[in-house]
């Protein structure tokens, strides 16, 4: 399928610094992408460049196979057919909900505009609130209003800049799922920016992690979690630790857990020292296992316990166990490793 949004080798320079370096990615029509990364990593700047609020110093951006920006020219924002949901919603305080929704429907026949507004209001569950002003809506309603307003003109690409950041932490994931569903119902191509991976995983088909202006990996969410190609991505996404090991064969690794066999994510020569990514769900709690570790810290999470366990070699690892496996701190518990792929990186100090 044709790429609806294509970003090709884009550099963006802000007044003092290079904010985005050599970023390429594409999104197919109707898919949802997500850019994650720590604050200042350039993700928002990249998003703004798609909207036309930041100029490129290298590369180009295509929307619907038409170049909207390159080094020499930039189509004005209003001609790009992009929608944007802002972090603070940016609802117009002087307009009621109806007029906010209608704002992007200039030039549309009144009858069609009203039909579109009714459709959206039903879809985002704001029925009956059309005469209210933004300050008369709750936070969640404002957020859905901003989403509906951006969707109203049927943009080719919808951009969402940290849209859930002002919501309660425990609501965000659910909201993200709901918004993801609304976007799929609308069939819109969307790119979300967030620093919260759970939001991203809850709604995105494709996801990427940015750091210091670079897009380190762009893949589906499963691969991002289980097959990170960069140690920053491995640390940023999910929990886990890096355990030191020595490569003994093309598919063998000697570690604190003993010798592990499996395909290495990157080729290394025997004798090389590497770091192995171990996720909490890679380590299973098994009372019969000969490998024992001492519980040094535990976090109760309702349905499960997250244990931090110290191995005899002093390496600390995380282990998730069902909640009824309640062990005390200092207790020695049995562990087994369930790694089907060995995600390894060259050591930091190499």
């Amino acid at each position: 399928m044709a790429g609806e949004l294509l970003i090709h080798e884009v550099d963006i320079e802000l007044s003092d610094d290079v904010a985005v370096r050599n970023v390429s990615l594409s999104l197919d029509r109707g898919t949802i992408g997500c850019l994650m990364g720590p604050s200042g990593c350039g993700k928002t700047t990249l998003l703004r460049s798609i909207a036309g609020f930041a100029d490129l110093s290298h590369g180009h951006i295509e929307i619907d196979q038409k170049i909207v920006a390159d080094v020499n020219q930039a189509l004005p924002t209003e001609k790009r057919q992009v929608g944007m949901v802002f972090q603070d919603y940016a609802l117009f305080p002087h307009l009621n909900l109806r007029d906010n929704l209608k704002f992007g429907l200039q030039g549309v026949k009144a009858k069609d505009a009203n039909a579109r507004i009714d459709e959206l209001v039903r879809r985002v569950d704001l029925t009956g609130l059309l005469d209210r002003y933004p300050h008369e809506l709750s936070g969640g309603q404002q957020q859905r209003a901003a989403l509906a307003r951006a969707l109203a003109p049927r943009p080719k690409v919808l951009l969402l800049d940290e849209p859930f950041s002002s919501q309660d932490a425990h609501h965000r994931e659910q909201l993200a799922r709901e918004v993801g569903q609304i976007l799929r119902d609308e069939g819109v191509t969307a790119l979300l920016v967030t620093h919260d991976q759970y939001e991203g995983f809850a709604m995105a088909d494709m996801a990427g992690v940015m750091n210091q202006g670079r897009l380190l990996q762009w893949s589906n969410a499963y691969d991002l979690y289980h097959m990170p190609t960069d140690r920053f991505v491995a640390k940023f996404i999910g929990e886990g630790i890096l355990v030191c090991g020595v490569v003994t064969d093309h598919n063998k690794l000697q570690t604190d857990f003993g010798e592990l066999t499996g395909e290495l994510s990157q080729p290394f020569k025997p004798g090389q020292i590497v770091d192995l990514l171990v996720r909490p769900d890679d380590i299973l709690h098994d009372d019969d296992s000969p490998l024992k570790g001492e519980v040094v810290e535990k976090t109760f999470r309702g349905s499960e316990h997250l244990y931090q366990v110290k191995l005899p070699t002093n390496t600390r690892v995380f282990c998730v166990a069902p909640s009824h496996h309640d062990h005390y701190i200092g207790e020695k518990i049995g562990l087994t490793l369930a790694l089907d792929h060995l995600v390894v990186f060259a050591t930091d100090n190499a």
Binding site: T77, E78, V82, F92, H94, F103
Partner: protein, 517 residues
């Protein structure tokens, strides 16, 4: 303690609003013969002139203030950072001193009526009020709202008209209202051009006929107009409760124009600065060179000492009073204290000419009653008492507004924390309020000081016999076409007028550093 402070607040508020209330009260004892005379002769002319000037000033300051603010906030052009504060410079010129500069020019355009010259002078010196409030509003707006408009299909111009302007409306209306109220209150500019407005009419009635009742009733119409205007502003504002959802300020995306557009904008922004400040300043300096020693003679120094002394004494008296009242109002908020606060604000909305009459009426009444009862009159109208009373009444709200803005930054929780830590009222004031409010109290002293230095009509009426200030003398000399002699005192007033301008510009530079703008 609580009762005492409420009583104090009540007493001060009533005293401060007394002159305005007296003038308004005169409306309720109408003199029909007088009114039919007024209506037959001058009244319609006064009202028409005042109304036309007010409307022209409202439109003129709106156009100049809003457009310059928008360009400064949104466009990059040579000199932009300088213009950001230089556009406020004309505020240093009181309208009547700017008139000294404009009046000789009017001879070259004899077909332009005096009324238009008055409007021109007032627009050029009052537009900074609108510029300031519009600029603050534009900066305060969520950049996101403008960007959202762009993603919804608006170009820059449409985004301005449909989003930025309506969102800034409350602030712009407030700025235009201040400018319009100042134009209604203006005495000096209209008098200098010989234009008969309500404001000049009040003093003419008093000086010409010594008819205090007629002056008071005329003044009451002016207060009525001013109150109507401020009520209108309040209703416009309360309907538009614009909450800024955003507290996220992004670097404004400044637009670069084509080279001709850029320099065009520089030229456009230069106009108000050059015409409103540069040229009249140079002209005044040139005039001063026409006088011996630039007019810096013993008479000038006497005037300067009079003006400075009066302004400092009143400012130092008024500001502590405002601080005390602000604190007690805050510690004991009630419907009463809110009403009293609104009452004490009346003074600033009251034109100086009106205030003068409002002070004269009770003082004359007291002296006359004393005389009739066989006592020696106190001579209240011939000393400084009346003048200082008028200043307190007129400038109390200047001090109160500045002080209260400072007080707002002291969160209630600080107050409560200090109390739970066992601080007494005195300790609270000396250790918490005073250190935190020092800046705003000093600002209040400055603002009142400058306003008194510039004040003309009330001083003209209420000053003791043979006592002159810089403002009064400059105006008298200029009216006698002794411009060379008027220049030094006029320059002196402009120089003091620069104090609040520099103060505000420093704040602007600071806020720019904070927001990267």
């Amino acid at each position: 303690m609580a009762i005492k402070s409420t009583a104090l607040v009540a007493l001060v508020s009533i005293l401060i609003s007394l002159p305005t209330l007296v003038v308004l009260g005169s409306f309720f004892v109408p003199d029909y013969a007088l009114w039919s005379h007024l209506l037959d002769t001058v009244f319609t002319r006064y009202v028409a002139n005042s109304a036309v000037v007010a409307i022209e000033v409202a439109i003129g300051t709106f156009v100049m203030g809003v457009s310059s603010a928008w360009f400064i906030v949104n466009y990059q052009f040579p000199g932009r950072n300088i213009f950001a504060w230089a556009l406020m410079l004309p505020l240093a010129f009181p309208g009547y001193i700017f008139a000294f500069f404009v009046q000789p020019l009017s001879a070259y355009l004899p077909f332009v009526p005096a009324r238009e010259w008055v409007s021109f002078c007032l627009i050029m010196t009052l537009y900074p009020y609108v510029y300031l409030s519009a600029r603050a509003a534009f900066i305060d707006q969520s950049v996101c709202a403008l960007e959202a408009a762009r993603t919804l299909g608006c170009n820059r111009r449409q985004a301005f008209l449909q989003v930025a302007l309506p969102m800034a409306r409350p602030s712009i209306v407030a700025g235009v209202t201040v400018a319009t109220m100042e134009s209604l209150a203006d005495y000096g500019t209209a008098q200098y051009f010989g234009l008969e407005t309500i404001s000049t009419g009040v003093l003419r009635t008093w000086f010409g006929h010594y008819n205090l009742t007629a002056a008071a009733q005329l003044a009451a119409t002016l207060v009525g107009a001013v109150l109507l205007l401020s009520a209108l502003e309040r209703s416009l504002r309360s309907k538009a409760k614009f909450h800024h959802a955003s507290h996220r300020y992004q670097q404004m995306h400044l637009s670069w124009l084509s080279p001709s557009g850029r320099f065009g904008l520089t030229a456009l922004m230069s106009f108000p600065v050059v015409v409103g400040f540069g040229l009249p300043s140079l002209w005044l300096i040139h005039q001063a060179t026409g006088a011996e020693n630039f007019g810096l003679n013993s008479q000038f120094f006497e005037l300067a000492i009079n003006s400075l002394g009066l302004a400092i004494i009143v400012a130092l008296g008024l500001v502590p009073l405002a601080v005390m009242i602000a604190i007690s109002r805050r510690d004991k908020p009630s419907r009463w204290s809110a009403a009293l606060a609104a009452l004490s604000r009346l003074g600033y909305a009251t034109p100086g000419t009106v205030l003068a009459i409002g002070v004269l009426v009770p003082l004359v009444y007291i002296d006359r009653s004393l005389a009739e009862a066989g006592y020696t009159p106190l001579g209240l109208t011939t000393g400084f008492g009346g003048l200082i009373f008028a200043y307190f009444s007129r400038f109390y709200s200047v001090a109160a507004n500045t002080v209260e803005a400072g007080l707002e930054r002291i969160h209630r929780s600080m107050n409560e924390t200090a109390r739970t830590l066992g601080a007494s009222s005195w300790r609270l004031i000396s250790k918490v309020y005073f250190p935190l409010m020092r800046g705003s109290a000093l600002a209040a002293v400055l603002m009142v000081f400058v306003d008194i230095m510039k004040e003309l009509p009330a001083t003209l009426v209420l000053r003791p016999f043979d006592f002159n200030t810089l403002a009064v003398r400059a105006f008298e000399l200029a009216s006698d076409e002794r411009l060379a002699a008027a220049a030094a005192p006029a320059l002196c007033i402009v120089l003091t007028g620069l104090i609040p301008v520099l103060y505000l510009s420093r704040q602007i530079t600071r806020s720019r550093a904070g927001h990267g703008r």
